[in-house]
């Protein structure tokens, strides 16, 4: 009652593609080697099973024409690719043949069938216009569900930035933390608007261990942001606007949330020293960076600009979206991506403003170049990308080509706990799903 269904449900029968191709090949007496070629081509494509609607449409056509000689022409008015279109036409011919239809030239045909592969907003619509003699055309049609799409890959360059896909989901991902890893991550926590979910890589796939709900009284702001930060006496804290949740170890794990405007840490936990129970390698780096926190506007998507304990004597900067730092010999150079579109460079003595057209920022410590780089996101028309920069002085120098995200929009960029990689969350503009990547600078190739 509550859903429009255009035709009876198409049985979810995944007829073997081998069978499909051989069936059509048999109909047209195609030689065996060609059928193998078709088979390979079909597997290379995103093959879908069209046999249900093919059979339905064939039945409707034959109900009008009866068995006999017809001529069939086809046109593709839809977003279907040429190969799918051909597979469907062949499948329909095969189904019609099975119902007693013979295909002949127009002069010999008792009926003319014009097949149009069309579509509407929710499904494919296949229409057959049937003419017998001089009368009006009879129109029959079926609809077929549209399959999901797919995505592509990208290339890299020397001194490059690489992305490793960690997790994809429909709900907005705010942050992902890698809790355990061997050569690849094996245990992760995913933060979204309503929960922290733990996943473990087992038997070749991610399996959910536990989902811990986030309790909050007020509605979240639009463009919600959040961050997972390792803690010394418990597994980690989840920072969200006006809420901090503490994940306590134990069986089962528990997540305790409280309303607070506590500052969010801006320095990756592993870079400010200490031991951390959950995060691999966090705290093991010999570098120790003075911690810095910033207050987050609980009903907006930016930091207020109030810092604690401050950069030297500076305890406020203009409100900002994101921050990164670069250690110098005797000080830290902090970069703030302000809400006014400028990047402010603050070292406790000077405060410089640059129009760098950067969005999100993250610091990474690597074995490359100067040892510290800043990852910066920017938007270049069709989608967002991330560059790696160094600052020999106060002017940025790009040290990697951009890594792009196939037209996606970067919604989060956070330095990981250990400090040598970052998490980027990207919203795919086509699928609307969110994908979290680990970004790593590769030094030499």
């Amino acid at each position: 009652m509550l859903h429009a269904v255009y035709n009876s449900a198409i049985p979810n029968v995944f007829t073997s593609l081998v069978d499909r191709v051989l069936r059509s090949a048999s109909s047209f007496r195609i030689v065996v080697p060609l059928s193998y070629l078709l088979l390979g081509m079909a597997f290379a494509a995103h093959a879908a099973d069209w046999s249900g609607p093919e059979q339905q449409l064939a039945g409707k056509i034959v109900a009008v024409t009866g068995p006999g000689a017809v001529t069939l022409t086809a046109e593709n008015r839809s977003s279907l690719g040429k190969r799918d279109s051909e597979v469907i036409q062949n499948g329909l011919r095969s189904a019609l043949g099975g119902l007693g239809i013979r295909f002949v030239n127009a002069e010999q045909a008792a009926a003319t069938v014009v097949l149009s592969l069309s579509e509407n907003q929710s499904s494919y619509v296949w229409v057959a216009q049937i003419r017998q003699g001089a009368g009006e055309a009879v129109v029959v049609m079926v609809s077929a569900p549209r399959p999901e799409g797919s995505t592509a890959t990208h290339e890299t360059v020397p001194l490059s930035l690489r992305k490793i896909s960690l997790w994809t989901q429909d709900d907005a991902i705010l942050d992902v933390a890698v809790l355990e890893e061997n050569t690849v991550p094996t245990h992760i926590a995913v933060l979204d608007a309503e929960k922290v979910t733990l996943y473990r890589w087992q038997s070749g796939k991610w399996q959910q261990e536990q989902a811990l709900g986030i309790v909050h009284a007020r509605p979240w702001p639009r463009d919600l942001r959040g961050r997972l930060v390792p803690a010394k006496d418990h597994l980690f804290d989840a920072y969200l606007p006006g809420v901090v949740c503490r994940l306590a170890a134990g069986a089962p794990l528990t997540l305790n949330c409280r309303e607070t405007d506590d500052p969010w840490p801006l320095v990756a936990a592993g870079l400010s020293g200490g031991n951390f129970s959950g995060f691999p390698g966090a705290g093991s780096t010999p570098t120790s960076v003075s911690p810095l926190g910033a207050f987050y506007a609980s009903t907006r998507n930016f930091f207020t600009g109030v810092l604690t304990p401050g950069i030297s004597k500076s305890t406020t900067v203009p409100k900002f979206y994101s921050a990164a730092f670069l250690p110098r010999d005797k000080y830290l150079l902090w970069l703030f991506a302000s809400t006014d579109g400028h990047v402010r460079m603050v070292d406790g003595v000077s405060d410089q403003v640059a129009r760098l057209d950067w969005g999100e920022l993250a610091s990474v410590k690597t074995a490359c170049g100067a040892g510290w780089q800043v990852l910066a996101a920017s938007s270049e028309g069709t989608g967002d990308s991330v560059h790696t920069y160094e600052f020999p002085d106060r002017d940025p120098v790009a040290v990697s080509a951009a890594i792009d995200f196939q037209g996606g929009a970067i919604t989060a960029l956070w330095t990981e706990a250990k400090g040598d990689t970052a998490i980027a969350v990207v919203r795919n503009r086509e699928t609307r799903s969110y994908e979290a990547f680990r970004l790593a600078v590769v030094c030499s190739q």
Binding site: M1, L2, H3, A4, V5, Y6, N7, S8, K60, R77, S116, S118, N120, Q121, S122, V125, V127, Q129, V139, V140, M141, V142, S143, V157, P158, L159, R218, P219, P221, R222, D223, L224, R300, N301, F302, Y321, S322, A337, T339, D340, G341, D357, G359, E360, G369, A377, S378, S379, E380, G381, D384, H387, P396, V397, A398, A401, A402, A409, I410, S444
Partner: protein, 459 residues
């Protein structure tokens, strides 16, 4: 330098291009809060009550409604129903009843909580023939309509709480600050909106503005979002302005004011329908905008629109006309304030003359047939078809089963009545300033502004 050698040179070379690329890039990857959005529109609605059926349905009205109100469900761009004020739904009583669970924690703009009772009352006000009741945390609707959810997604079914003086209050992202009916509407962001506060601080809408006046306001920076007349869309896009168009969701058609009375009249109406050169109307008068059509529903909605031939067939028209002895002169009405409508009607009269028919254009309200613009109220084809039938004052659309073939049969039956001669399907188009970001159109052609934001002007 030694550390990287030639590779460092390569990287530095690459750096130049990267920096150049960066300078052309846009930092505004994250939405910014604040700012006042200025909008201009042609329509002059005098009521903001979504359930007020005295007001003509229009895309502008849909847009205004969805700024202040929410519906129980929404329909996404793929035609799929999504939760909104209702979090889940189920069919009861063998499909004769729908139960929708109301979202908890939602508040109206005056701070009172949304309850199933208020939701039920709102739906009853919008649909006096519906039997709607609150049941614990749900509303229950006794209706056998197969498209109930799609009906509930219509702006006219937005949930409103009515005050003692019958003012509607919504749960939407903005609330009313100033309302001068038919002239101006000022809205402010709702801080406690259940979906989160919108990025914009306020929206100010000037009503009753002509298309040219709107475009001037955009050019002078006095408006951020304006409507674009169909015949102007090509030029606006050539000017490099940001133009957003919907799918074709407005039907332009000739509608006869009465049913076919005789066999001769049936032949003459067929002759008129066959004589109209829709293709040249589109290419010359509309500057390439829209799609010629002989169907009520656009092809993107039905999938079969091409089955109805839209090309002029003068031979058929003359053949039909020659079977009739007495040829009456039909008056064709149009909106006298709409210059394009007048030009279109004059072109139709010329086409008809070629077929031996006589049409007399008139801007008076009394006419044998009228050129009308019919907004398709929903992206759901059944609801859209029913809307066309209602506006054209044809009989109600039957809804026997919901298959695409049933839809085709219903549309075919409506066309066979010869009350409507479809001409064109037009999109609705808007031009916006470069600072307006992340806005778009819903499938029904209304603005989606809750996630829009104003960026920083480039120096």
């Amino acid at each position: 330098m030694k550390r990287f050698g030639w590779r460092w040179f390569v990287v530095n070379s690459m750096v130049v291009s990267v920096l150049v690329a960066t300078s052309a890039a846009n930092a505004e990857t994250r939405p910014q809060y604040g700012g006042v959005l200025h909008v201009a529109m042609h329509a002059s609605p005098t009521s903001l009550d979504p359930a007020d059926r005295a007001q003509p349905d229009s895309f502008a009205r849909h847009s205004l409604t969805m700024l202040m109100f929410d519906t129980l469900v929404t329909v996404d761009e793929n035609g799929h129903v999504q939760p909104s004020l209702a979090t889940s739904w189920q069919a009861l009583a063998g499909g004769q009843r729908g139960q929708l669970r109301i979202r908890r924690g939602v508040k109206f703009n005056d701070g009172t909580p949304l309850t199933p009772e208020i939701a039920a009352s709102s739906l009853r006000a919008a649909n006096p023939s519906w039997n709607v009741a609150a049941d614990a945390d749900s509303v229950v609707i006794d209706i056998s309509d197969q498209n109930l959810l799609e009906q509930l997604a219509l702006p006219r079914n937005a949930i409103a709480k009515r005050t003692a003086d019958n003012r509607p209050i919504g749960t939407g992202p903005f609330h009313i600050v100033d309302w001068q009916p038919g002239k101006k509407l000022a809205l402010a962001a709702e801080d406690n909106c259940w979906r989160g506060r919108p990025f914009l601080d306020a929206v100010e809408i000037e009503m009753g503005r002509g298309f040219r006046e709107q475009m001037t306001a955009l050019q002078l920076g006095k408006a951020d979002l304006v409507e674009v007349a169909p015949e102007q869309t090509h030029r606006v896009s050539l000017d490099g302005r940001r133009l957003v168009s919907s799918n074709p969701i407005e039907l332009w058609a000739l509608v006869f004011t009465r049913a076919v009375a005789s066999a001769d009249e049936k032949l003459l109406r067929d002759a008129l329908a066959s004589s109209v050169e829709r293709g040249s109307m589109r290419s010359v008068l509309l500057q390439g905008a829209g799609q010629p059509t002989a169907s009520l529903l656009p092809n993107w909605m039905s999938g079969y629109g091409f089955v109805f031939p839209a090309d002029a067939d003068l031979t058929r028209a003359r053949h039909a006309r020659e079977q009739v002895r007495t040829i009456p002169t039909w008056t064709v009405g149009y909106d006298g304030t709409d210059l394009l409508a007048r030009v279109l009607v004059e072109r139709i009269a010329l086409n008809a003359k070629d077929a031996g028919l006589w049409l007399q254009p008139t801007s008076t309200t009394k006419a044998d047939l009228r050129l009308v613009r019919i907004p398709l109220v929903s992206s759901d084809p059944w609801i859209a078809l029913a809307g066309v039938a209602t506006l054209a004052e044809i009989s109600a659309v039957k809804n026997p089963g919901g298959s695409v073939e049933d839809l085709y049969a219903s549309e075919n039956a409506l066309l066979a009545m010869q009350r409507v001669i479809p001409l064109l399907h037009l999109p609705v188009s808007y031009a916006s300033s470069p600072t307006l970001k992340n806005w778009g159109l819903r499938p029904d052609g209304s603005w989606a502004l809750a996630d829009a934001w104003l960026g920083i002007d480039k120096p």
